[in-house]
């Protein structure tokens, strides 16, 4: 993790004073482990569709299980009102710790403050809660990811040609990615956006259909140099359309990576050649670690940036299928993040694993 460290000075009122770990933070590993076992953790998600999401949940669940705890997943169907209601309800139920996945400050601040008052530690992922003291925020660097994948796009196309953007506003990560995209267009005047579309409610099929229309409009090889897919669900749809149309001249540069995506990138006939991403499973893992640090009474950084990794087809083996689990063997920095791990957590893992 390359997050900037910020000393948290609210020691007295910090969630460190959580009931379960009132013992001093320097207590022996064994008693720590006992105190941290059997925690009830709430994971409150803004949306939960797609493989990416499922893998993230998986990461959280597995890690909590390793610590001998139990996770309750609260889904909000992309409805912030429901998300804040879920947060309220998690506080009311006196969970030992709360994990947030996406959302925004406006909707969550009140609930998070309530949680902190109740001495329930909160660790958020991509929720924009930077203003609240005592909350650790994990963030994947969306601008960086867009830069990485667009950089590759520029490199492979020689920084010129027509490109198609599949993107939709309305989601903070998307809007961050758009910032990089805009910069990219300014810096590469020879790259021209000829079509832009995107529909979050029906991402794959809608993209597939619309991409087909665009291909018909630009029917000649070389009319379109590349597609920038700002979300892997879009990339899948675009890949299907291009592949089925046999337009091997067009390449797709995406963001986000799940097992499903990895298979598509590995497929030599697929136009999807590169994607920037943070391992969804390890996001979950790291997030849980920070929560347990808080439960243990440690002070944790206010912000933890998860460094994105860039994956291209060339990095992957040709002879075997890779999953996100073993991707680390081929791509440096992937999923190995030991961020947030501590000795006592390792001890806990070992103890609870028995």
């Amino acid at each position: 993790a390359c997050g900037k460290k910020e000393e948290n000075n609210a020691a007295a009122s910090s969630p460190a004073a959580s009931a379960a770990s009132s013992a001093s933070a320097s207590a022996s590993g064994a008693s720590d482990a006992d105190a941290l076992k059997g925690k009830k953790i709430a994971l409150i998600m803004r949306f939960n569709t797609g493989t990416f999401s499922a893998q993230y949940v998986d990461g959280v669940k597995k890690q909590v299980a390793k610590y001998g705890g139990e996770v309750t997943v609260m889904a909000s169907d992309n409805d912030l009102n429901k998300m804040s209601a879920n947060l309220d309800s998690a506080v009311a139920q006196k969970f030992d710790g709360i994990l947030l996945d996406h959302g925004d400050a406006g909707a969550l601040t009140a609930g998070v403050n309530k949680a902190l008052e109740a001495k329930i530690p909160v660790v958020a992922f991509d929720s924009g809660l930077n203003g609240i003291e005592g909350v650790t925020n994990l963030a994947q660097d969306d601008q960086k990811m867009a830069e990485m994948t667009l950089g590759e796009l520029a490199k492979q196309t020689g920084a010129k040609g027509n490109i198609v953007k599949v993107w939709v506003a309305g989601f903070p990560p998307m809007e961050s990615r758009q910032i990089s995209y805009k910069k990219f267009l300014e810096q590469n005047p020879n790259i021209k956006e000829v079509a832009a579309f995107g529909d979050a409610s029906n991402p794959q099929l809608d993209t597939q259909n619309k991409m087909e229309a665009v291909l018909k409009q630009y029917p000649n090889k070389g009319d379109i140099a590349a597609v920038f897919a700002s979300w892997d669900e879009f990339a899948k749809g675009a890949a299907n359309a291009i592949k089925q149309a046999g337009r091997d001249d067009i390449k797709i540069y995406g963001i986000d990576l799940s097992d499903e995506d990895l298979k598509m990138i590995q497929d030599p006939t697929s136009p999807w050649v590169a994607s920037a991403a943070v391992d969804p499973t390890s996001i979950g893992t790291v997030q849980v670690r920070y929560l347990y640090q808080k439960l243990h009474g440690d002070q944790t950084e206010a912000t933890v940036q998860l460094a994105p990794v860039f994956v291209t087809r060339d990095m992957l083996p040709k002879d075997k299928a890779v999953t996100t689990a073993d991707l680390a063997q081929y791509v440096e920095g992937w999923g190995q993040s030991d961020a947030g791990n501590t000795d006592y957590l390792k001890a806990l893992e070992a103890a609870a694993g028995k």
Binding site: N48, N86, D88, S89, A105, G106, A169, G170
Partner: protein
């Protein structure tokens, strides 16, 4: 005697059922039946309740307003942009979205009452249009305090504190949106039960031709019903913004189905078999209780829907098996 009992079961069957669900959760989880949690539930349903009241009104005049979800979305972003982009004072922020609701209601009414497009069709089309409008207005972006604008500058305004209080504040320990909801439910109920205009709406819904022949201006009544429906949705949108503190694109999309579900469960309450305000309220409560209770029970989130559906079926079955028996 036996008949009485049956009648009783029937009339209060659905309420009994809701009570049973609550009892079940209360026994299963200590944290469930606490004042705070019950208030949380009511707060969570307050927005849907407003939208559902609107849908109930449109159904009362034998219409069906599919555009409420889109109206919520539009009203949400209008409210937020008025503060964030234009730094308007509170009163403007509260009134303009309602006017937007009035306009949408009038468009619906025009298509349905004047052009005579069947309501489902007309409101579906309006739903698309309003959805498009709210996205075009914000260019697809969510609206939040001091958001970066497309031209690189920063939006001047912030979400006003008193505005946010509407969605997040408490009065005497009760969340303010809950108070608003209860007032709205009571007023709407009294309106439809005890005022002439309310009865006129019900007459129109019961048999438009009969109402017309009785000298009622049914077109006016239906127009007003659609306006009311849209205005309630707008209020829902304003509350939504106040609750979550930002203007979200497509915020209202899930509201349509949720409010319709509440209204339909409401058909069962008091065995009305028809849209009714009190029923709608209890319908929304049931849905809220289910969501809250099931999360507490740590039911896998993806099985929630199954249970919700089954409860819906049971609640409806209680009523309609009986309604049918009675008729034949």
């Amino acid at each position: 005697m036996k008949n009485r009992l049956l009648h009783f079961t029937f009339q209060f069957g659905a309420l009994f059922f809701i009570a049973l669900v609550i009892l079940f959760f209360a026994l299963a989880k200590d944290a469930f039946f606490t004042f705070d949690n019950l208030m949380d539930i009511l707060k969570a349903i307050s927005i849907v309740a407003f939208v559902a009241i609107g849908v109930t009104i449109s159904l009362m005049v034998d219409g069906f307003d599919l555009s409420v979800g889109a109206t919520v979305s539009l009203s949400t972003v209008v409210t937020a942009t008025l503060m964030v982009w234009y730094q308007m004072p509170l009163i403007v922020v509260l009134v303009v979205p309602l006017l937007v609701g009035v306009v949408i209601g009038l468009i619906n009414a025009f298509l349905i009452v004047k052009i005579r497009i069947p309501d489902l069709l007309a409101t579906l089309a309006v739903m698309y249009i309003v959805n498009g409008v709210h996205k075009t207005y914000t260019k697809g972006y969510s609206i939040y305090s001091n958001m970066p604008m497309q031209d690189g500058s920063t939006a001047p305004g912030v979400m006003l504190k008193p505005f946010l209080w509407i969605g997040q504040g408490k009065l005497l320990g009760v969340p303010f949106p809950v108070i608003l909801m209860v007032i709205a439910v009571i007023c709407a109920h009294l309106f439809f039960k005890y005022t002439r205009w309310g009865r006129q709406a019900i007459m129109t819904g019961g048999n438009e031709e009969a109402a017309r022949l009785s000298g009622l201006r049914v077109k006016k009544v239906r127009t007003l019903a659609y306006v009311a429906s849209a205005v309630f949705a707008s209020i829902g949108g304003v509350l939504y913004t106040a609750r979550i503190g930002s203007g979200q694109i497509d915020a209202g999309a899930p509201m349509l189905m949720e409010s319709v579900a509440a209204v339909f469960v409401g058909y069962s309450v008091f065995a009305a078999g028809r849209p009714n305000i009190i029923g709608t309220f209890f319908g929304a409560v049931l849905m809220g209780v289910m969501v809250n209770g099931l999360t507490m029970m740590n039911v896998q989130y993806y099985t929630n829907d199954i249970i919700k559906g089954i409860v819906l079926v049971l609640a409806l079955a209680v009523t309609f098996i009986h309604l049918t028996r009675k008729k034949t």
